[in-house]
């Protein structure tokens, strides 16, 4: 049995060596952002009244769905604010870190043939998988200590030592849980892309059912690891047992992954490969057909995912109305006695539309970045060596990105529109749908920026950073009271928030124009530069 884990230590050191930079890039910002937002919150909401006003503005089902239930609202102190506004999203970041890192060291190593070299050495069959799990355990111990120490050393009255520590341990436990989930996915799928998709599916599913559970279906949140983490009621009640549950589940999943790994052949997934057709269809023979076919499955999956995502939010819009009617004090606090419940609902519709469309931008950027991936894998040479020009390749990817954005945003709009119409009396389907569609030009700006990065051939992270920034502006811009110019740096802020504001054609036209300009620039720089492969 020991032979199965032989040289786990050496492989662990090797993985850590490769990941030096990656660890710094992920863990330091997570710690820094946590500490900085705590400082900012303290500066922005120094007295009780400010905090209560904030509490009332965030106490509604739409926000609960997004962030999780708020505990300790009676005295919404800095600790409780952190636990409500930052906890879940920081945990999502650690989960994404785990998914990307674990799949890189497992399935990707394997599909690129590096694992074969390692395994021809006196290393145990399970050593690489065991090493990556230890790697994550260590990384998360560091993260938990960093976050815990950082929060505690701020010496904010409402953040106790226990609360700070549990905060760090909670997000780390979620990270470890998803590391184990990814380890299992790596045994099932046959490619690193498949592994990542499968793991992200689990993450999004956990997030969504927890949202539904927190808002309307009692008990549903118990099916989600993120629900368990929120159940720690960190900074308020500080329950430790849900963390124990997460860690035990992570351990069990790791055991399952090791078992599956021991059973299967190197390079194989657990699902056997089937035989395919002998000839390519007419459609597949065209460059457009080929590109669409390669992305077909992901387009369908994202469309279905966004439809469900939109429908989920649409179905809780009704709750918002009842909620507002019930809470008299909220109207006073928000100074909205003139506003009917409907107006408030429309406010939420426009807020949710930004968030949903920012999510919908992710697959559009990914679709554009496939071109860069093809280049990296040396598969582009043989395509460009035919009578296909480089510009037409990038052009096709732009067009497909455009269609992709239409598909996912419509899907989300239809889902939210239909369910919204059912759950709120008098809310028109078209109102919701139009609100969503208005954000398309902002997505196109992102798409063209992605194309420009592919065109230049480097700095692909810029698009992700910019999208992340746009998300932060929407998500925290209000609570952190960003200056107006910082908000206006995001293309999503330029889109008229429809049911509330009037439609401004000029803004939409300018955004579209910018997207066209950047796209032309992208095509020009792509034509001029060398291809790597």
């Amino acid at each position: 049995m020991r032979a199965w884990f032989s040289r786990t230590g050496s492989i662990l050191l090797w993985q850590l060596k490769q990941d030096r930079l990656r660890l710094v890039i992920w863990l330091v910002p997570i710690i820094a952002v946590t500490v900085l937002t705590a400082i900012l919150f303290e500066g922005l909401y120094p007295d009780e009244g400010d905090r209560q006003r904030l509490a009332q503005s965030v106490l509604n089902p739409a926000i609960t769905m997004l962030l999780g239930p708020a505990y300790g609202v009676e005295q919404y102190d800095i600790g409780a604010i952190m636990a409500h506004q930052m906890y879940l999203f920081t945990a999502l970041a650690t989960a994404i870190f785990s998914i990307l890192t674990v799949s890189k060291h497992t399935r990707e190593e394997e599909s690129l043939g590096r694992m074969e070299i390692i395994r021809s050495l006196p290393t145990g069959r399970l050593a690489p998988l065991a090493a990556i799990m230890i790697h994550h355990t260590l990384s998360f111990v560091v993260l938990a200590s960093g976050v815990g120490a950082g929060l505690y050393l701020l010496s904010v009255a409402s953040i106790s030592f226990e609360g700070a520590l549990l905060y760090g341990v909670g997000i780390s436990a979620v990270g470890l849980f998803f590391a184990a989930v990814t380890a299992v996915c790596a045994q099932l799928a046959e490619s690193s892309r498949g592994t990542i998709s499968l793991a992200f599916f689990v993450l999004i599913f956990s997030y969504a059912i927890r949202g539904l559970g927190d808002v309307s279906y009692d008990g549903l949140s118990w099916w989600s690891p993120l629900g368990w983490m929120l159940e720690t009621r960190v900074m308020v009640d500080n329950h430790w047992w849900p963390v124990t549950l997460l860690l035990v589940m992570a351990l069990l999943l790791t055991g399952l992954a090791l078992y599956l790994n021991a059973k299967r052949d190197l390079g194989a997934g657990l699902l056997p490969a089937r035989q395919g057709p002998r000839n390519a269809s007419k459609w597949l023979q065209t460059q457009v057909g080929f590109t669409v076919t390669m992305q077909r499955v992901s387009i369908i999956a994202w469309a279905v995912g966004m439809l469900i995502f939109g429908a989920t939010y649409g179905s809780v819009l009704g709750e918002t109305g009842t909620y507002v009617a019930e809470i008299e004090i909220m109207k006073e606090m928000l100074n909205i006695d003139q506003l009917t419940g409907r107006a408030l609902i429309e406010e939420f519709v426009s807020m949710l539309a930004v968030i949903i469309t920012i999510f919908a931008t992710v697959p559009v950027i990914l679709s554009m970045y496939r071109l860069a991936k093809e280049e990296k894998l040396n598969r582009l040479e043989s395509v460009v060596a035919t009578a296909t020009s480089k510009q037409s390749l990038l052009g096709i990817h732009l067009v497909i990105g455009l269609l992709y954005s239409l598909i996912v945003v419509s899907a989300a709009g239809i889902g939210m529109g239909l369910m919204g119409q059912r759950s709120v009396d008098g809310l028109q389907f078209m109102t919701v749908f139009e609100t969503m569609m208005a954000y398309l030009p902002a997505i196109w700006v992102m798409l063209s920026l992605a194309a420009l990065c592919v065109g230049i051939g480097r700095w692909l992270w810029i698009t992700w950073a910019y999208l992340g920034y746009s998300f932060v502006v929407v998500y925290l811009g209000g609570a952190l009271e960003f200056p107006e110019w910082m908000n206006k740096l995001s293309p999503f802020e330029w889109v008229p928030s429809l049911p509330v504001e009037d439609f401004k054609l000029i803004n939409v036209l300018i955004l579209t124009g910018i997207a066209v300009l950047i796209s032309l620039l992208a095509l020009a720089s792509y034509r001029r530069r060398d291809l790597a492969g």
Binding site: S6, S10, Q18, L112, G113, R119, S120, L266, P272
Partner: protein, 296 residues
């Protein structure tokens, strides 16, 4: 004494039977060639030998130990070089070599490593992402030969090397043999196999169809003849291949069984010139391969 032995090795991938009863035996101190057409099952056999794939049936041992159960023990004394080498893009060749040698549980013999690096004219300070295919292969070769091993398993190790480097590789193999080490060499470069290998196995459709020394195998095959005669040459119908009449004479190949009849026929036609050449490995290979084409 054999260092490597397989017995009825069978591997099934779902419906596909990639190997159906492969028997091999590599003796200590010999270089064993393993050839066969694409998809014949060479890499699959080698991966089973490395304990990376699990055989569906049959047994395989290296140093008398089971390749699946005792993989770790076995791997301390073997080195493997694949044909398609992929390395970690953001690390240097030198780092990768040290890592791989270290994983074998051996101290890196810097002197030996340096010697090999110079021999292969490799720049170990470059990042792996910037290496050409041949240079990536050199990294794997240096990592394999820098360690002290008893058996080398090589799967098309020279597919990216230039002729000069290929010769250096051949020298290295012969030196290893002189030190009493064994080599299993799978390759499509038949001249290389012919030059280096003591014994050869030919695999086709997952079955070993021939094994033996070069001269054993030659026995099974045809002799090349070129003759010029005074009279028209009349030969038996059976056993003559690749018949070609030139202005001056005849060029053809003869199966071993009819060689005697043919020689008599040539003598009767009044031979003025005769040249014979032993079959090359390529002829052997083509012959087996052609037969295979019939039943596809």
């Amino acid at each position: 004494m054999s260092v490597l032995q397989t017995n009825g090795l069978t591997k099934r991938f779902g419906q596909v039977e990639a190997l159906s009863g492969v028997d091999l035996e590599v003796d200590k101190g010999e270089i064993f060639g393993f050839i066969g057409p694409n998809g014949a099952g060479k890499s699959t056999t080698i991966r089973i030998l490395l304990g990376i794939l699990k055989a569906t049936a049959g047994e395989a041992t290296i140093f008398g130990q089971d390749v699946w159960h005792d993989a770790v023990k076995i791997h301390k004394r073997i080195a493997y070089v694949p044909g398609d080498v992929n390395l970690w893009p953001n690390l240097t060749g030198g780092q990768v070599i040290d890592y791989l040698v270290h994983l074998r549980g051996q101290k890196v013999n810097q002197e030996r490593k340096q010697h090999l690096i110079e021999r292969f004219q490799l720049d170990p300070t470059k990042k792996c992402r910037t290496y050409s295919k041949g240079n990536r292969q050199k990294v794997a070769l240096v990592a394999a030969f820098a360690a002290d091993c008893d058996l080398y398993i090589l799967d098309e190790p020279t597919s990216g090397l230039d002729p000069l480097m290929e010769r250096k590789f051949q020298e290295l193999i012969l030196e290893a043999k002189a030190e009493g080490k064994s080599v299993l060499l799978s390759s499509h470069i038949l001249s290389e196999v012919e030059k280096l290998c003591d014994r050869i196995a030919i695999i086709r459709d997952g079955e070993v169809i021939e094994t033996g020394t070069m001269s054993d195998l030659r026995h099974l095959t045809r002799t090349h003849l070129y003759v010029e005669t005074e009279k028209t040459l009349v030969l038996p119908d059976q056993g003559i291949h690749e018949w070609k009449e030139t202005d001056w004479g005849y060029q053809f190949q003869v199966d071993r069984e009819v060689l005697d009849d043919v020689m008599q026929a040539i003598a009767q036609a009044g031979v003025t010139k005769i040249e014979s050449a032993p079959p090359t490995l390529e002829d052997l290979f083509m012959r087996h391969y052609d037969v295979g084409e019939g039943d596809v």
